[in-house]
């Protein structure tokens, strides 16, 4: 038996459920964002952004969400923003559970490690990114209001995964039948998913720092916090990414006869690696520490996304497998 169709069908359904739950989570995180009040606002009315007219009057009495000042007049003891944020986080946890279920069932349905094509890879990458964000929010709760900016690219990726990239559950070609798929692809997925967070955080940092667009920037966590977030996650993910590239080289030596051959995928992975190395160096170079470093980090993640889509789907190489 090559594929178990029932299990595979449930895997697909769980994927669809994940997509719906993530969409709900995004709605609640954007509500949270809209309801968040700017902390240091001297004038109340000015602090309220342009977009949240109806809720304006109602929430104008509540104190600043993220800071969690006690003693407001609301019945629940929590601000509206805080409630939305908590619902958003709960939904994200639910999404992670459903998503993990979808991936596990995919593996059970095909009797192999479920990272064999772009659908499975991108799906897992999104799971890792949501997971990384949940871990971060748990460790640094003040970051939570930025969740909508992390969920937006993830949801976009998930949508592409479920439509353009979708591939029926099937066995993989001989080159992928190796235990290295477990080590190499999993590491790369994890590292790429983690690197999404600093990529987004760096862009938010640039928004915050330049205060453009002002309506969005005002409610973001502080520039310093975003910058530190980007750095901390990058220094975790970069060694992992390096390890992923090295295990890829080891696998390539066994499968393709050479450990490094400048295959397009290898080349762009190398470019992304060099960019992240440049990011770390920029952090230690006067004049490059802040904005420029943030631009480099965003460029690094853009390169990873480019490697995922453009190189696999447009430029043919050894990493392109049947049915995308």
């Amino acid at each position: 038996m090559l594929v178990d169709p029932i299990t595979s069908m449930w895997s697909d359904r769980l994927f669809q459920a994940t997509l719906v739950v993530l969409l709900l989570a995004m709605i609640f995180t954007s509500l949270e964002y809209a309801a968040t009040r700017v902390a240091r606002a001297p004038r109340r009315r000015a602090a309220v952004g342009a977009g949240d007219g109806g809720a304006d009057a109602e929430i104008s009495d509540t104190p600043d969400g993220a800071e969690g000042a006690p003693g407001d007049g609301s019945r629940t003891g929590r601000t509206r923003a805080d409630r939305y944020g908590r619902i958003g986080i709960s939904l994200m946890i639910l999404a992670v559970v459903l998503h993990a279920g979808s991936i596990v069932l995919r593996g059970l349905a095909t009797y192999r490690w479920p990272l064999g094509n772009m659908y499975e890879f991108t799906s897992a990458l999104c799971l890792m990114a949501v997971g990384a964000w949940l871990v971060l929010v748990r460790k640094h709760p003040p970051l939570r209001p930025a969740g909508v900016f992390v969920l937006t690219p993830i949801l976009l990726l998930m949508f592409i995964t479920g439509t353009v990239l979708y591939a029926e559950a099937a066995p993989v070609v001989p080159a992928l039948q190796s235990y290295w798929i477990i080590i190499h692809v999993t590491t790369i997925t994890l590292a790429s998913g983690m690197l999404l967070v600093p990529g987004v955080a760096s862009l938010l940092f640039l928004m915050k720092r330049n205060e453009r667009p002002a309506a969005l920037a005002a409610k973001l966590p502080g520039a310093e916090a975003l910058d530190r977030l980007a750095y901390r996650v990058t220094v975790l993910a970069f060694p992992l990414y390096t390890f992923g590239i090295i295990t890829g080289a080891v696998w390539a030596e066994a499968a393709w006869g050479r450990f490094w051959g400048w295959d397009p995928k290898e080349t762009v992975a190398f470019v992304a690696w060099v960019l992240y190395a440049a990011y770390l160096h920029a952090r230690a170079t006067a004049g490059w520490r802040t904005s420029r470093a943030a631009w480099i980090n965003s460029a690094g993640f853009a390169t990873i996304v480019f490697n995922l889509f453009f190189i696999n789907m447009v430029v043919a190489g050894l990493h392109s497998y049947a049915g995308v």
């Binding site: 090559l2 099937a170 066995p171 070609v173 001989p174 080159a175 039948q177 190796s178 290295w180 310093e224 910058d227 530190r228 750095y231 901390r232 220094v235 975790l236 970069f238 060694p239 390096t242 390890f243 090295i246 080289a249 080891v250 696998w251 030596e253 066994a254 499968a255 393709w256 006869g257 050479r258 450990f259 490094w260 051959g261 400048w262 295959d263 397009p264 995928k265 080349t267 762009v268 190398f270 470019v271 060099v274 960019l275 190395a277 440049a278 770390l280 160096h281 920029a282 952090r283 230690a284 170079t285 006067a286 004049g287 490059w288 190189i311 430029v315 043919a316 190489g317 049947a322």
Partner: protein
């Protein structure tokens, strides 16, 4: 290029690049003769090259320069795609060619960037290693006079005696490198520093990166790679000279005279496919003789198997199964009763993996010595072969599955001068097109044959399609550098993880005796990036200050 994790607060690790031509000040103008100018220029160039800013720019250039290697077809990867590119962009292609765009990773400008980066790396890491050596022996720096000006500081009074506080400080700072200094007025200042492993990891990372690149370069110099097609019916191949190979890519220092000899005999090719034709498993049953066996005159073959992901590894060389195909076998029987059998490999032409193949199996009638006659009687069975034949809408032969389910050959039998006597080399897969154009080689029969079918030519010669033998493409690789690349890359990741996870930080404690106890001042400075030292400092501070100071609680 140093991954300079130190913040440079205490001391810049490398001097900033001097503006060109700026005198170093103390030198008297008279001595700045021509030679001194050159020296200054060299020194400034060196400083500029090894500065972090230059390293950054070079890193960007490297990233930028590598991109065309992914976006433009590369000759080293796929020659056919380069040809397609020429056909699609006839104007742009020669320009790209002249810029080295089809061979980015062998181009001079790519080499220039990585060589400069390498110099920058060496020029930065070596002095830092020396500096590191000295700093490992140095005591932590003296306590600044005013601790409140540091980014992290705290202060409290304690009822304990200065000695008791000092004792607690020592206990708290176990594991830190520290030094105690006495200051006037009975004051004790403790300087402590921790996280030296960060710089260790940093240097290990960069030094092993150099090692990795040297290993890579060594492999390019002394390594080689060859491809050979071997019929999977007990045919043998020996890695003894370049001549045995169909293609051979030698390293710069390889002349092909000194290959590690070993032999492989391919007994059988096993392939399995899914119903839709997607490959499932490939494997070749082999026997092999190692270099030692051959030297000792051992005639037995060691049994083995080569599959995708599991090459044969012997004597530091590897033999991979990188392709397979079919060799249709034809027997030609001439009217005089003589016959010859030919079964040369045909090559797959369909990119989708259906194994539709083309080729040319060539024959000469035996016993003909007259050169003129030879040039009119040579035969070539050319055409298309499908392992599982089917007829498409236009009536052409198509292959619907790569396995040998219904082997079919659409043959085009040609007679005349094959050009084998002209002394020019020719492809084993095709006949000389020039001979066809000149009318010296003409089609005498066209037929669709299944196994066992035959076709009779006008002169009574019978061509029979006997059967099919699979062949495998073996790729032999020799790379003495790759083990070093592996070792260095493992050390490199370890160094990287170390340097990015350890924080280098300093802590100072000043204990001043006051009436009825002591006053404790704390100061902290992270020597690393803004990765957060505050939390640890606060914890240390509260442990040191809080137990006796209940005013806060």
């Amino acid at each position: 290029m140093t991954s300079d994790m130190t913040s440079g607060v205490a001391r810049p690790p490398t001097a900033p690049p001097q503006p060109p031509g700026s005198p170093t000040g103390s030198e008297p103008p008279a001595r700045r003769d021509r030679f001194g100018g050159v020296a200054a220029f060299l020194r400034n160039t060196w400083r500029g090259l090894t500065s972090m800013r230059t390293a950054l720019v070079l890193l960007f250039l490297l990233a930028l320069a590598a991109m065309p290697g992914a976006l433009i077809p590369q000759r080293s990867l796929n020659e056919f795609l380069v040809d397609d590119f020429y056909a699609d962009y006839p104007t742009a292609a020669p320009i790209i060619e002249s810029l080295g765009g089809f061979e980015v990773f062998a181009s001079p400008w790519f080499a220039a960037i990585y060589l400069l980066l390498m110099i920058s790396l060496v020029g930065c890491v070596l002095p830092r290693s020396v500096e590191y050596w000295h700093s490992m022996r140095a005591a932590p720096v003296a306590t600044p006079r005013n601790l409140t000006r540091l980014p992290h500081h705290a202060e409290a009074d304690s009822a304990e005696s200065p000695d008791a506080v000092l004792e607690r400080t020592r206990r708290l700072l176990r594991g830190w490198r520290r030094v105690e200094r006495s200051e006037p007025g009975g004051v004790t200042a403790v300087s402590a520093e921790r996280g030296y492993l960060r710089e260790t990891g940093n240097l290990v990372f960069h030094l092993s990166l150099i090692g990795l690149l040297l290993g890579f370069a060594g492999g390019k110099l002394y390594g080689y790679e060859g491809d050979v097609i071997v019929r999977a019916d007990g045919a043998e191949f020996c890695n003894s000279s370049i001549l045995g190979y169909d293609t051979f890519r030698a390293g710069l220092r390889v002349d092909g005279t000194d290959l590690n000899e070993f032999c492989v005999r391919v007994d059988r090719f096993d392939g399995t496919w899914l119903p839709n034709g997607q490959p499932s498993t490939f494997g070749a049953q082999i026997g092999y003789q190692t270099g030692e066996d051959l030297a000792d005159g051992v005639t037995d073959w060691r049994p083995g198997e080569i599959t995708v992901n599991y090459p044969l590894r012997t004597d530091g060389d590897r033999a991979y199964l990188t392709g397979y195909g079919y060799a249709p076998e034809f027997t030609v029987t001439w009217p005089d009763g003589q016959s010859r059998t030919g079964g040369i490999q045909w090559r797959p032409v369909d990119q989708s993996g259906s194994q539709l193949s083309e080729g040319a199996t060539k024959f000469e009638q035996p016993g003909i010595t007259d050169a003129e006659l030879r040039r009119t009687t040579q035969l070539a069975v050319t055409g298309t072969f499908a392992p599982t034949g089917a007829v498409d809408a236009e009536g052409n032969l198509a292959s619907v599955h790569p396995d040998l389910r219904a082997p079919t050959a659409d043959v085009n039998i040609m007679r005349g001068d094959l050009g084998i006597d002209d002394g020019r080399g020719q492809s084993i897969f095709t006949v000389d097109q020039q001979k066809i154009d000149d009318g010296e080689l003409v089609t005498v029969a066209e037929e669709r044959l299944g196994v066992g079918d035959s076709v009779t030519l006008d002169d009574g010669t019978v061509v029979r399609f006997d059967g099919v033998t699979p062949w495998v493409n073996l790729q032999v690789g020799h790379d003495p550098g790759q083990i070093w690349v592996l070792v260095f890359s493992i050390v490199m990741v370890a160094g990287l993880a170390l340097s990015l996870s350890v924080k280098r930080r300093r802590l100072w404690v000043r204990i001043r005796p006051v009436d009825g106890g002591s006053r404790i001042q704390l100061g902290g400075l992270a020597r690393t990036d803004r990765a957060g030292y505050g939390e640890e400092f606060d914890r240390l501070g509260s442990e040191l200050l809080d137990p006796m100071d209940k005013k806060d609680g």
